[in-house]
């Protein structure tokens, strides 16, 4: 059995463990133990992976396990990882780990809450390790559906509306993805032979061009909905605003990455010719998303809305970079996913903690929090600085890689969109500093806030682990960047081969 299978088994065992728990405290500790183990497993995976690579193992994917599952349709349980998926797994385990601590004060139905949360995470892990399109889709659905219950039951505000909206929009995306995947399956053997769902095998073939042109938009839009692509992003502000803290963290931190990863791994990797032909349409949408999200965030007054729009902007940059079709930009895209994942999880964790104390998320009703909760405030400033791309944090590394990569495309169209996207760094600075200024600095506007308490130990674990994540990547990015680059080789070669001849 491969180490990867553990990533599915551990969450399932944890869920079984939760079912046997008697008290809420036990539920929490079992969850902590399970997800802590998962986190250790992820670190072990990273180390093992790096060791294998250093030992000269240049196989496209490592730690492969392949079992036939349903013969009629040739569906396999086929898992394996390259540098990109290893990085995504590291991200997921960190965010889930921090998310457990951030939901320490969840109100009721502990058992159910943690069950769904962990079930969701197992879907995410499964998605990232799958090499079989069918199982990948299965895990994808497994990750999306618990979201409805988590928001609908434990959410706040107009939670039923938000949960419904989010689920329906994502399901709409799923429908497109399903069509796209079936289309790929039916065309997976253009030169005869059995049809297959196997990503690696399909990637060695060139699918018929007319099919590609039909399937690419289906898949890119389908995954793009989850990646908050403009104009299919509106589930995000409402969904996040209503979701409980840990769910927001997981959703923005990890689940939205499923979208970007899907665009990268399925749409672009398997349909490169079509990507070259129609990618420009999505590039324009992504660029609009980058700048539009930033301006949208400038006007909002609810902390979660601000962060949701900021996510639209940052995730727009992911799609933007993927559509630049070169190694540097794609590397930046993956790093941006990781960076944004940790950063936004940190933001949502902090927002949840602040909300838990002040019972409001409207920045105008708060002010001067630095004085009463210095730990949370300093952490918020750090998250803000990371978000606006300060060197020393992961956001800078990712953004700079993206911009340098994007600049390698010398034609005027790419130049223009690159400069437009790059100008978002200024707008980002404006909305971040606006929030920091109103929320944390200045005088305390509400006298009752003088009594508020700072972070508890479980809050601190959650926050510190996430801050460490962005700082380590920000200070020493070389290992991560090289690991990701190693995984990009096949896709970059495919794109090069598929590139239309330059006149």
């Amino acid at each position: 059995m491969s180490i990867l299978t553990l990533f599915i088994i551990i969450p399932l065992l944890t869920i079984v463990g939760i079912l046997f728990c008697k008290t809420d405290m036990q539920v929490k500790w079992v969850s902590v133990a399970g997800m802590g183990l998962q986190f250790i497993n992820a670190i072990a995976l990273i180390l093992l992976f790096l060791a294998e690579r250093r030992a000269g193992n240049i196989a496209e994917v490592l730690f492969v396990q392949d079992n036939l599952w349903y013969e009629t349709l040739n569906i396999h349980f086929h898992v394996g990882v390259d540098g990109v998926s290893v990085a995504m797994i590291g991200l997921t385990s960190l965010v889930v780990f921090a998310g457990i601590f951030a939901s320490w004060e969840i109100k009721d139905l502990h058992r159910e809450f943690f069950t769904f949360l962990i079930l969701l995470s197992s879907g995410v892990f499964g998605f990232f390790i799958s090499l079989d399109l069918f199982t990948m889709f299965l895990f994808y659905e497994l990750a999306v559906i618990p979201m409805y219950l988590l928001i609908g039951i434990w959410g706040s505000g107009p939670r039923h509306y938000s949960a419904m909206k989010l689920t329906l929009m994502l399901m709409g995306g799923s429908a497109l993805i399903m069509l796209g995947l079936i289309g790929i399956y039916l065309n997976s053997a253009p030169n005869g032979g059995p049809l297959t769902w196997d990503i690696i095998k399909i990637s060695k073939e060139t699918l018929p061009m007319d099919m590609q042109r039909f399937l690419f938009p289906l898949l890119f839009v389908g995954f793009g909905v989850l990646g908050a692509m403009f104009p299919f992003h509106t589930w995000s502000p409402d969904g996040h605003a209503s979701a409980p803290t840990a769910v927001s963290m997981l959703h923005a931190g990890v689940l939205m990455k499923l979208g970007g990863y899907g665009c990268y791994r399925v749409a672009v990797f398997l349909l490169p010719q079509a990507a070259h032909q129609v990618g420009w349409i999505f590039l324009i949408l992504a660029t609009i998303g980058v700048i539009y999200g930033a301006f949208g965030a400038l006007w909002q007054k609810d902390l979660k809305y601000i962060n949701a729009y900021s996510s639209v902007s940052h995730c727009g940059l992911v799609l933007f970079a993927i559509l630049m079709f070169n190694q540097t930009a794609m590397n930046g895209a993956i790093m941006q996913m990781i960076s944004h994942g940790i950063m936004t999880a940190l933001f949502f964790a902090l927002i949840g903690m602040i909300y838990g104390r002040t019972h409001t998320r409207y920045i105008n009703e708060m002010g001067g929090l630095m004085k009463v909760m210095p730990f949370l405030s300093v952490a918020y400033v750090i998250a803000g600085l990371a978000s606006l791309g300060l060197p020393g944090f992961s956001g800078f590394v990712a953004e700079m890689t993206i911009f340098v990569g994007a600049f390698q495309n010398a034609d005027i169209f790419h130049r223009v969109v690159t400069i437009i996207a790059a100008s978002s760094i200024v707008v980002t600075a404006v909305y971040i500093l606006r929030v920091v200024g109103i929320l944390l600095l200045g005088k305390i506007r509400n006298d009752e806030y003088e009594q508020l308490t700072d972070a508890k130990w479980y809050d601190k674990i959650s926050v510190v682990s996430l801050i460490l994540g962005i700082t380590i990547i920000g200070v020493a990015p070389l290992w991560l960047s090289d690991m990701i680059t190693g995984g990009l080789g096949p896709i970059v070669q495919k794109l090069l081969a598929a590139a239309p001849m330059m006149p």
Binding site: F396, A410, A422
Partner: protein, 641 residues
């Protein structure tokens, strides 16, 4: 070859201090943070001095007698493309070694001073932690081996400045000022980033040694006309200069610097007078060969922007009453002068006089301007006000501050043989060879400088006698000792034969004092002083009369020529109200409206259709029979026709 790799510690020590003081500072008494920070900086200062000594006097020179330019330490930080990669390291050449001295000396003085000045403040250890962070960032900036490393540290000094301006975070004006400083410089940095991207795209490297060397790819690539008749290289250098102009508060990106005076005074002395704000000058100097050989138009822009900023800020400085703001405008004006020096310079030997003079002025200015700010801090400390109207007759109460402040004023006014005289004279000499018009403009700036500095000096230390609540008294030793040391620098720094060390091509040359320029310059400066004495030595109504006589011009200058209002109009009115707000509305009502509309239509449709499934047998029968009838009719119709 001597091993210089220990210079990496010059960078590692301050960041270590930042982490230690930042994390543990609150566990101990505040003074511990001050002592740890200051003694740490003392070690860094010693290391820098040793480095400078070894670099200038011990290290052998290149075959042609020039100073070497080499990397003492370099490591890979991030791989970007197959050619481009970001490294972190230490580059040693005359200007970076000179900057090491400037930064560590001023920073050490400011640390020492702050122990006294910040005594009893809340957040004392936070202050020292941030000072260490700033020192780290600034040192990293000047020793950068490649332009991207410079950009990394460029952003870091920006954020240290943001955090220190907003040090008194409960004060709304300080919060607003810090935000403004960060956003304005961030906007400029966008230009810097685009410039870097263009430069690296055409040359395929970030590396300074390659870029500015004799076989630089910047000399050959990117020369074709690209846009508006200028080459790619010129545009990239213009964009890079935009970053420099933002950080160095050049017109029209200067608006953040006067507001930045909301920060504690030692911070103003260190960051907003002596070190960070000259980063733009340093940036242009660092890329100077590219500017001269590949982008002369960009260099002309540097010259014009510098000259205009210097006169513009000098005029405003004459009308302000907040002593720190006067000094801030004075800083803008002096940095404009440095930019002007670079802008008029050529490359190599005497041609590069402007370059040498500009660096020289940067060096001397750091001493006397830091001294002026620290002196202002001591005064504010004593009278608890920033406004010169609240001061007067302080020369008896604050003897040491008075003496050192006077030295600094004389130095900046260009009175021989103090520091400012020599460096300013060289800039004027270089300017006279290039453009007579701008030479006279800078001459006027000299006069204005002398005038507003002595306006300040007389209003504070002489002028009318003030009634103070408490008798002002001299600052403690930790504050006056740095003043005296810096005063020594302001007195003597001008005597250094600068052209033996720092020149455009790193080859020493001999520069002479040009009497034809020195004498008029001194006379203009003395005139400024005399006029100021005439106006302000005794309390008179002459200033008011003159102010009124100049009418709307002096009003405009007093209101800083309404540049702030213009920016406010653009940001608040246009960007916030006419872009951001409509975007938010569009998102909620059009994009989301479409989604909700879709849901609504689906709901409505199903609502209509669901009536068909009523469960009533009679209704089903009715529908069934109606349908059957319809079909029959249809068939009949089709058959018969």
């Amino acid at each position: 070859m001597i091993d210089f790799s220990y210079t990496a510690w010059i960078l590692l020590l301050p960041i270590f201090l930042f982490i230690v003081i930042g994390l543990l500072g609150n566990r101990f008494k505040p003074i511990v943070s001050g002592i740890v920070g200051t003694s740490g900086l003392f070690i860094i200062w010693l290391l820098s001095l040793v480095t400078a000594y070894k670099y200038f006097f011990v290290l052998e020179k290149a075959a042609d007698g020039s100073f070497l330019k080499f990397m003492a330490f370099n490591m890979r930080w991030l791989n970007l493309t197959d050619k481009l990669h970001i490294d972190m390291g230490v580059l040693l050449d005359p200007i970076s070694v000179m900057m090491l001295i400037v930064i560590t000396t001023v920073s050490l003085m400011v640390h020492l001073y702050s122990i006294g000045y910040m005594h009893g403040e809340k957040g004392f250890s936070r202050f020292f932690a941030l000072l260490s962070l700033f020192s780290f960032s600034m040192l990293g900036l000047v020793v950068a081996t490649n332009i991207f490393q410079m950009y990394v540290f460029w952003e870091l000094v920006g954020v240290s400045s943001y955090l220190l301006i907003g040090f008194y975070y409960t004060k709304d004006s300080a919060v607003a000022a810090s935000k403004k400083a960060f956003i304005v410089t961030r906007f400029a940095d966008l230009g810097f980033l685009i410039g870097i991207l263009m430069l690296s795209y055409v040359t395929g490297t970030f590396d300074f040694i390659t870029l500015t060397g004799p076989d630089s790819p910047a000399l050959t690539s990117g020369q074709g006309v690209w846009f508006l008749g200028l080459s790619t290289m010129t545009w990239s250098m213009i964009f890079v200069f935009m970053g420099g102009a933002g950080k160095s508060a050049m017109f029209p990106l200067h608006i953040w610097l006067p507001d930045a005076m909301e920060g504690p005074t030692p911070v103003s002395a260190l960051i907003h007078a002596a070190t960070m704000v000259v980063a733009g000058v340093y940036l242009v100097a660092r890329l100077f060969p590219i500017y001269v050989f590949s982008a002369p138009v960009a260099l002309d822009i540097v010259m014009w922007v510098g000259a205009f900023s210097s006169i513009f800020a000098a005029i405003i400085a004459c009308t302000q009453y907040d002593i720190k703001r006067v000094l801030a405008y004075s800083t803008i004006s002096q940095i404009g002068l440095m930019m002007f020096g670079l802008g008029v310079s050529g490359y190599g030997g005497h041609e590069g006089l402007g370059y040498m003079a500009s660096m020289f002025h940067l060096f001397t200015h750091a001493f006397f301007k830091a001294l002026l700010f620290l002196g202002a801090g001591a005064i504010i400390h004593a009278v608890h006000s920033n406004y010169m109207n609240d001061m007067g007759g302080l020369h008896k109460n604050l003897p040491i501050t008075h003496a050192t402040f006077l030295i600094a004023c004389l130095a900046i006014a260009g009175v021989p043989p103090l520091a400012g005289f020599f460096s300013k004279d060289e800039i004027l000499a270089a300017g006279s060879e290039r453009s007579l018009l701008l030479y006279w403009v800078e001459m006027i700036v000299s006069g204005l400088t002398a005038f507003y500095m002595f306006r300040l000096y007389f209003s504070i230390f002489w002028g009318k006698k003030q009634e103070y609540h408490q008798t002002p008294h001299e600052a403690p030793k930790t504050m006056t000792i740095p003043l005296m040391i810096l005063a020594l620098g302001a007195l003597l720094a001008g005597l250094i034969p600068f052209s033996n060390f720092v020149t455009s091509d790193r080859l020493p040359f001999v520069s002479h004092l040009d009497m034809g320029i020195a004498i008029p310059a001194v006379l203009v400066g003395l005139t400024g002083i005399v006029v100021a004495a005439f106006f302000y030595l005794k309390e008179t109504d002459i200033p008011d009369k003159v102010f009124k006589a100049l009418g709307s011009f002096s009003q405009a200058a007093f209101h800083k020529f309404y540049i702030d209002e213009l920016y406010l109009f653009i940001t608040k009115k246009i960007i916030f109200n006419y872009i951001s707000r409509p975007v938010a509305w569009f998102d909620r009502h059009i994009v989301d409206g479409a989604m909700n509309g879709l849901a609504y239509i689906t709901n409505e449709t199903s609502d209509r259709i669901k009536k068909l499934q009523s469960g009533q047998l009679q209704q089903y029968a009715l529908v069934f029979i109606s349908g059957a009838l319809l079909l029959v009719l249809l068939f009949v119709y089709l058959w018969t026709s």
